[in-house]
Subunit: 327 residues, 2 copies
C-alpha cells in the first residue's frame, strides 16, 4: 500500500526494533510476515480498533494509548485461553503527528510487547485527515481444539468473573471530570490488565469464557445467547474495588454504570458447580480474585437480581439499551 510520505523512515526508526526475535517478521521490511507451522496448536486471531475521541481521549499520553491498544486485544486472546505471540499494527496518523508523539507511542508499544512476550510482525501506517485511528491484530496459540468459546455454558453452571467490575467505566467519568479524581479508577480506565496468566489456566475448567469489554450485563447476554441459556446475575455479588464502592456509596445510581459501562477487560466465564473448589484454588495460585456472580438457568437473556432476589431494572445500558432482560 502507498503510505504516509515518511512511512518507511517511521517504520525503520520506531517499529522495526519491535520485530526482533521473530524471524518471520523479516524485520518489517517485507509485505507480509510468515508464521511457521505449529503442530498441535490452533492459532487464535483477533482484531480491535480504537479511535481518538471515541475510545480514548485525544490528549491521553501516547504511550498509554499504545499499551491500551495492546491490552484490549490481549484480553480477547486471554478469553480464548490463548498465549499471545505476535501483533500487527495498522495506524492512521493525523497529519502533523509529531516525532515526540510517535516516539512515546512506540515506547509504550515496546514496553507492553516485551511484558507480554509478543513481537510486532507487520502492519501499515497511513495518513488521515481525521482522528488517530489504530487497529491491532493479535495472534496467540492454544492447544488445538481446546480454546475457550462463548458457547458452552450449561444450565446449572456458575458464572464467575475475575478482578473487579466497573472501575474502567467509572475511571472514564473521573477522566472527563464527571466524578471526583481517583487514581485507581483512572489507572484502570487507561491501562487495563488483560488476564493473560489466568485465561490459559481456565482450559479444562471453564465451560464458556469471554472478556468483559462492552459491559458485564451485555457481555453476559452475548455469552448466554451463544450458549442458548439464560444468566441469573446477582448484582450484589459483583466484585467492586474500594474506589468503586466509595463512588457507589456516594451515588447509588452509578450501579448501572458499573454493570453496563464496559472497559473492564476482566474474564467472564462459566464452570460447573463442582468445579468451584478448583476455581478458588486457581484464583489463589494466579493471584487474581475470581468471584461467583450468578448461575446459568434455562431460558434466554439475563436477569439481574438484588440481595433480596428482586429483579433490577437498569434504565441505561451503556452501549445498548435494555430493561432488566438483556442480551
Amino acid at each position: 500500500m502507498a503510505g504516509a510520505p515518511d512511512e518507511f523512515g517511521l517504520i525503520a526508526k520506531y517499529f522495526a526494533p519491535l520485530a526482533a526475535g521473530f524471524p518471520g517478521a523479516l524485520g518489517l521490511t517485507d509485505d507480509a510476515a510468515f508464521l511457521p507451522p505449529d503442530a498441535g496448536h490452533d492459532t487464535v486471531v483477533t482484531v480491535d480498533a480504537i479511535v481518538a475521541g471515541v475510545h480514548f481521549l485525544p490528549d491521553d499520553p501516547p504511550g498509554l494509548v499504545a499499551r491500551k491498544l495492546v491490552r484490549v486485544n490481549l484480553s480477547d486472546l486471554a478469553a480464548k485461553g490463548a498465549v499471545p505471540f505476535a501483533v500487527l499494527l495498522s495506524a492512521a496518523f493525523p497529519h502533523g503527528t509529531g516525532d515526540d508523539w510517535l516516539r512515546a507511542f512506540a515506547d509504550g508499544l515496546a514496553e507492553d510487547l516485551k511484558e507480554y512476550g509478543a513481537a510486532l510482525i507487520g502492519g501499515d501506517t497511513v495518513s488521515t485527515p481525521g482522528p488517530l485511528t489504530l487497529s491491532l491484530t493479535a495472534l496467540g496459540k492454544v492447544e488445538a481444539g481446546r480454546g475457550l468459546k462463548r458457547s458452552g455454558a450449561c444450565v446449572g453452571d456458575v458464572v464467575w468473573v475475575s478482578g473487579t467490575i466497573g472501575d474502567g467505566a467509572l475511571g472514564l467519568l473521573t477522566a472527563t471530570g464527571k466524578l471526583a479524581p481517583d487514581a485507581h479508577l483512572l489507572d484502570r480506565y487507561r491501562l487495563p490488565q488483560p488476564r493473560v496468566g489466568l485465561g490459559p489456566r481456565l482450559i479444562g475448567m471453564a465451560s464458556a469464557a469471554m472478556d468483559v469489554s462492552d459491559g458485564l450485563v451485555q457481555d453476559l447476554g452475548h455469552m448466554m445467547r451463544a450458549s442458548g441459556v439464560k444468566g441469573d446475575l446477582t448484582a450484589w455479588t459483583v466484585p467492586l474495588s474500594q474506589s468503586a464502592e466509595a463512588a457507589l456509596a456516594r451515588d447509588h445510581s452509578l450501579l448501572a454504570t458499573v454493570l453496563t459501562g464496559g472497559d473492564d477487560y476482566e474474564l467472564l466465564f462459566t464452570a460447573p458447580l463442582e468445579a468451584g473448589g478448583a476455581v478458588s484454588a486457581l484464583s489463589a495460585e494466579v493471584g487474581v480474585a475470581l468471584t461467583p456472580i450468578g448461575r446459568v438457568v434455562a431460558g434466554q437473556g439475563v436477569a439481574i437480581r438484588d440481595a433480596r432476589g428482586r429483579a433490577l431494572t437498569l434504565k441505561h445500558g451503556g452501549w445498548r439499551h435494555f430493561t432488566g432482560e438483556a442480551g
Copy 2:
C-alpha cells in the same frame, strides 16, 4: 471492544454470512477466530489500511471500495506466493453511514471473498467522527519455508513485472478529472487485479518478489535494498496498456507518473537469466503478461535508463522524492 451502538446487528446482518464455511470463525459471534494447525505450511499474514479521501474517493461506489480493500491485501499475499484463505475486517464507519452504503459494501466484500476463496473470520466495527477508515488483515498459506521474499535478488538476475504498469496512477488522474476519461484506466484504479494465480507459481522460479503498490521505481528500490544489490531498469521496456501508451503519446511527462505513481498491484520479481524460458512458459500458462524490465547489478539503488542507455532523472517520485538513483 466497545463498538458502534449498532455493532451487533450490523455484524449479524451483513458480515456473519461471509464467515460461512470456516468453522474457526465461530459465525463471528466470538471475540476471536481459531485457525487449525496446518503441518507443512507457513501462515502468511499482512494488513493494509485505506482512508476515504486518501486512498479512495469518498464517493467511490461502496462495493468497489470493499473489493479494492480485499485486492490490495491479496496482492501482498500473492507476492509471497501464498494462497489466501481468510480475512479480518477492522472498520471505522463515519457517524450516519447508511444501511444502503453498508449493504453495498458487504455485497462487494462477499463477491470478492467468494471469487478468491477467502472467508471473513473476524473483525471490529467502530464509529468515527472522521473519514471512513478500513483495515484488512489477510491470511494465506504457503509451503513451509518456501514463501517468496523481497530479499534474494542476485547480481545477474533479470527483473520481471506482470501485466502493465501505470494504469492505476493514470486512472486516479482520470477519476479526478486531470486526464481525459478512460474506462480501462479508471477500472484499473478502482479494481486492481491481484495476481493470486501467478504468485504461488513463482515459487522455485523467482529469487525475490513483491507487489507494486507504492510505485515501480520505489518498490524496485525496496527490493534491491532488501537484497543488497542494484536495479538497472530500462524504462522503455516497462509494459504499458494501450490507454497508458495513448496518454503518454499526448503528454510524455506522464512517464514519471507511470513509473512512480503506484496503485499497480502487479508482481515485481527477479529470476536467474536461465529461468527466462520457464518464466515465459508460465506467462502463457497463467494468461498474464510477464515482461523483463531490467537486470540486477552490483551496487545499490535503482538506475533508470532510456532506449539509448542514458540515465533518466525523474523530478517527482510519487510518494517519495528521488533523482535517478532511487531506493
